[in-house]
């Protein structure tokens, strides 16, 4: 079922100084079909997509559109020829409304300036198509991450392009939102639109794709149409071995390390996002919190870490009540949070990889008044090795890392504080299966050494890996609790998720 090739990369290479992000890649996009690009963090997926959409220019090689070689000067060039892209990292203006973001730079002009009514009508139509209840006038900063991603998708859809590139569009979406997106994708392909899809959710991607391409270290290592492949094929070609998210480590469980008592957290309007929640986590234990978007997981974790204030309840770390402490004091006591949104909450873009890694443990390399350069370098090198960040060194700018490696920096930063209990909010967001397995291995190892681990996820399979205990949250409450032998279906049912397929 080889349809006509509409857009192709021929021998495309891209270098950033000494870093060869792409080394002569050939890549075809077929009319009316979905091509999925698989690859580890830093494999060069985003780089290739940015080249195909004119955001950056290749160092060498050619782009062929409808059989003709073309060169895009910038992203608008490509957009004018029907190619648009949903970027991996959100590129919305947080202060503007959903409507203004969708039409940013392409405002619909009426005789009296911008035709807001028409823009709003189209925005509503898009939201309806995506089955999302978002008011066009809402400022984007008031939306949760998943909804922001929906807006980003809506913006790309509003352009009516022939070729739509989606770089990890679903990393913050819930299962039902993904279903809707896939429906939209099927509609689009039926109309002849070609889709390029990138995701680290392999099973998910397999349900939608027609072609699979695997990139590894800037080289295309495998290609096959959907009919000929399965999950195992992708994994084998991506990382070269069978992968396993691990199993619950048989660590000795100690005393209760973290105890949450009757915790309530209100939102801005006073409604409780977390209601009277109780949870005990013992040293050496790994707890997974599963729930849909909006279940209150992020609020729970951020309150425990000290970013949000609780209206009631207690947080006890190793026998000490800590709810009156500042974030820094909690970190010093051994409580660390890896936040969900790495761009907004995890990384300081103006600082280097090393400075980001050491940011939460400055006290560890401060001698008297001054920081010790050598102690810091040791700490940074150690962290880079521990979480296997793919970088040219601690001095590299943080923006030069691929998305997944940036995520590892955030995790490495918090692990460097030597926590007693660590909270991770969707730690697998945007990281590849290899990295995911490594993150889980790190956590399992930590648990063996007595670390209490709590992580949240929206992927059931991740709960069924290393967690000793699975907590299901729904509307701010714990609705179910399972041990590691539970089935996927029971978890999903308890979360209030409508059983799809």
């Amino acid at each position: 079922m080889s349809a006509q090739v509409v857009l192709a990369a021929r021998n495309v290479a891209k270098s950033y100084g000494q870093v060869h992000a792409l080394k002569g890649v050939n890549f075809d996009i077929h009319r009316g079909q979905v091509t999925t690009l698989f690859g580890e963090n830093g494999a060069g997926k985003s780089t290739l997509m940015k080249i195909l959409s004119g955001v950056i220019q290749p160092t060498s090689g050619q782009i062929v559109l409808d059989g003709q070689p073309v060169a895009f000067g910038n992203a608008n060039d490509a957009r004018d020829r029907g190619i648009s892209i949903i970027h991996q990292e959100l590129s919305l203006a947080p202060n503007l409304s959903v409507r203004d973001n969708i039409f940013m730079g392409r405002e619909i002009m009426g005789p009296l300036g911008v035709d807001y009514a028409e823009e709003e009508r189209q925005t509503r139509a898009l939201m309806e198509e995506l089955e999302e209840q978002i008011d066009p006038a809402t400022p984007v900063e008031d939306l949760r991450l998943g909804q922001q991603q929906i807006v980003e998708i809506a913006r790309a859809l509003s352009v009516d392009s022939r070729i739509l590139i989606m770089d990890e569009p679903t990393s913050a979406l819930s299962a039902s939102e993904v279903e809707v997106l896939f429906k939209v994708i099927r509609d689009l392909t039926a109309r002849g639109v070609s889709i390029v899809y990138i995701s680290h959710h392999l099973e998910e991607a397999l349900t939608i794709t027609d072609h699979a391409v695997v990139l590894r270290d800037g080289v295309m290592t495998a290609y096959a149409p959907r009919a000929e492949i399965d999950l195992e094929w992708i994994v084998r070609n991506m990382v070269g071995e069978n992968y396993d998210l691990g199993s619950p480590p048989d660590s000795a469980k100690g005393d209760v390390a973290l105890s949450i008592r009757d915790l309530s957290v209100p939102d801005a309007t006073g409604q409780d996002l977390v209601r009277g929640l109780n949870l005990d986590v013992r040293a050496g234990e790994i707890v997974c919190i599963y729930g849909l978007m909006g279940a209150g997981r992020t609020e729970l974790l951020e309150t425990v870490a000290g970013r949000l204030r609780a209206t009631g309840g207690q947080i006890v770390l190793e026998g000490h009540e800590i709810s009156h402490l500042s974030i820094g004091q909690r970190i010093a006591r051994g409580l660390a949070l890896v936040p969900e949104d790495r761009q907004r909450d995890g990384l300081v873009q103006t600082m280097s990889v090393g400075q980001n890694l050491s940011l939460a443990s400055i006290a560890r390399f401060t001698r008297g008044l001054f920081t010790s350069t050598r102690a810091e370098r040791d700490l940074v090198d150690d962290s880079i090795r521990r979480v296997t960040v793919k970088t040219s060194g601690g001095g590299a700018p943080i923006g030069s890392l691929s998305g997944g490696n940036q995520q590892k920096v955030v995790i490495g930063k918090m692990l460097a504080t030597n926590p007693r209990a660590i909270l991770l909010d969707e730690p697998s967001r945007g990281i590849d299966i290899g990295a995911k397995a490594e993150v889980f291995r790190l956590l399992a190892e930590g648990a063996k050494n007595g670390l209490a681990v709590v992580y949240s996820t929206s992927e059931v399979s991740e709960c069924l890996s290393i967690a000793h205990r699975i907590i299901v949250m729904h509307k701010g409450r714990i609705t179910a609790e399972f041990d590691s032998t539970v089935s996927k279906d029971r978890i999903m049912a308890a979360s209030g998720e409508s059983q799809a397929a």
């Binding site: 500042s326 300081v348 006290a363 040219s392 030069s400 290899g434």
Partner: protein
């Protein structure tokens, strides 16, 4: 999937390109000195350099405080007014403080005057900090307000007049105020030494202390810094307080140089300080900038305007030149920060 540490040795050519861009303020300064040395034989003499430097000192001290605030992602418009207020406070103390209850007039020694004045500056700065950090007033607005209030208080205290007698008297034991402005150690004016001390202290603090790291982090991404345990509010209040204290130091130096303290001193100095910071390569969005750059920026502005005076260019043209230098500097900044880092 291993930690690939690919060749740590970076190519030389890249470093030279960076050096040229990063060292632009330095090269500008060299160019300014070279051009004026050719145009005027009096320019490149030790005595003139020292005189120019002691003028730069005032702006230099102000701009170090400004740098800290700008690194934090803020701006401090009140430093010129704090400078004037501090001068007036010091002047008033030199005239004697009358204590009604006891019916005596106290003449504090000069060291006490200096300490108290710096405290006043720090306190006014802390007001800025509290407004910005706790009450979430945008820095531009908060410091604009304080700028008016501080200037107003300075005017009220003196009724618009100027204190001309700052010498103190032997009998009262409060002589030595002009030491700051006039004395030299090994030929170097005290004001320049003060600037050097402040600059070195600030430089060490930024590059080697935990506080410096906190400041860069919270200026680069406050939310991320906060979640990493950085006490972002404390950092914020501190930088505004330090900026206020340094404005007071500058006010003391200026009053001492002029042997008078007036409520209208330091008008629009905050703009010069901001210009020095920007020319020094700091980003107004926060998180990027160095003391070295800011010092170069202050000297570029100071040496340029002094040179223009020496060769007899009208002060109107000086304003035009200074403006052009600032715009050029900002252009270069966007060149430096616009590329390089990957767009996200």
């Amino acid at each position: 999937m291993s930690a690939t540490t690919t060749n740590p040795a970076k190519p030389r050519s890249l470093n030279i390109g960076r050096l040229l861009l990063e060292g632009r303020a330095f090269f500008a300064l060299i160019a300014i000195i070279a051009v004026f040395s050719v145009l005027s034989p009096n320019y490149f003499t030790l005595s003139n350099l020292l005189i120019m430097s002691s003028q730069v000192a005032i702006f230099g001290i102000l701009s170090i405080g400004m740098l800290l605030v700008i690194l934090n992602g803020g701006i401090d418009l009140s430093v010129g007014s704090i400078l004037a207020l501090s001068g007036v406070v010091a002047g008033a103390m030199m005239q004697g403080v009358e204590i009604d209850a006891m019916g005596v007039i106290l003449y504090p020694p000069v060291w006490a005057v200096v300490v108290l004045t710096v405290c006043v500056g720090a306190a006014v700065g802390a007001v800025n900090g509290v407004l910005v950090a706790i009450f979430k007033v945008p820095p531009f607005v908060a410091t604009l307000g304080v700028m008016y209030v501080a200037r107003g208080i300075a005017l009220l205290m003196t009724n618009g007049l100027t204190y001309n007698n700052l010498r103190g008297s032997e009998a009262l034991g409060n002589t030595g105020f002009n030491w700051l402005g006039f004395y030299r150690i090994g030929g170097v004016p005290i004001s320049v030494i003060v600037l050097a001390v402040v600059a070195i202290a600030a430089g060490l603090m930024l590059s080697r202390s935990a506080f410096g790291r906190w400041l860069y982090a919270s200026g680069g991404n406050e939310r991320a810094a906060e979640l990493s345990g950085v006490p972002v509010k404390r950092v914020k209040i501190t930088v505004y307080a330090v900026s206020g204290a340094l404005a007071a130091v500058a006010g003391l130096v200026l009053a001492s140089q002029l042997t008078s303290a007036g409520p209208t001193a330091g008008n629009a100095y905050e703009l010069t300080a901001i210009a020095a910071v920007v020319i020094g390569g700091a980003a107004l969005t926060g998180g990027r900038g160095t003391v070295r750059g800011t010092m170069l920026g202050a000297f570029v502005i100071g040496f340029l305007s002094a040179g223009l005076v020496i060769i007899g260019v009208s002060s109107y043209w000086q304003t035009v030149f200074t403006g052009a230098v600032i715009v050029l500097a900002v252009l270069m900044n966007s060149l430096q920060y616009g590329s390089g880092a990957r767009k996200t």
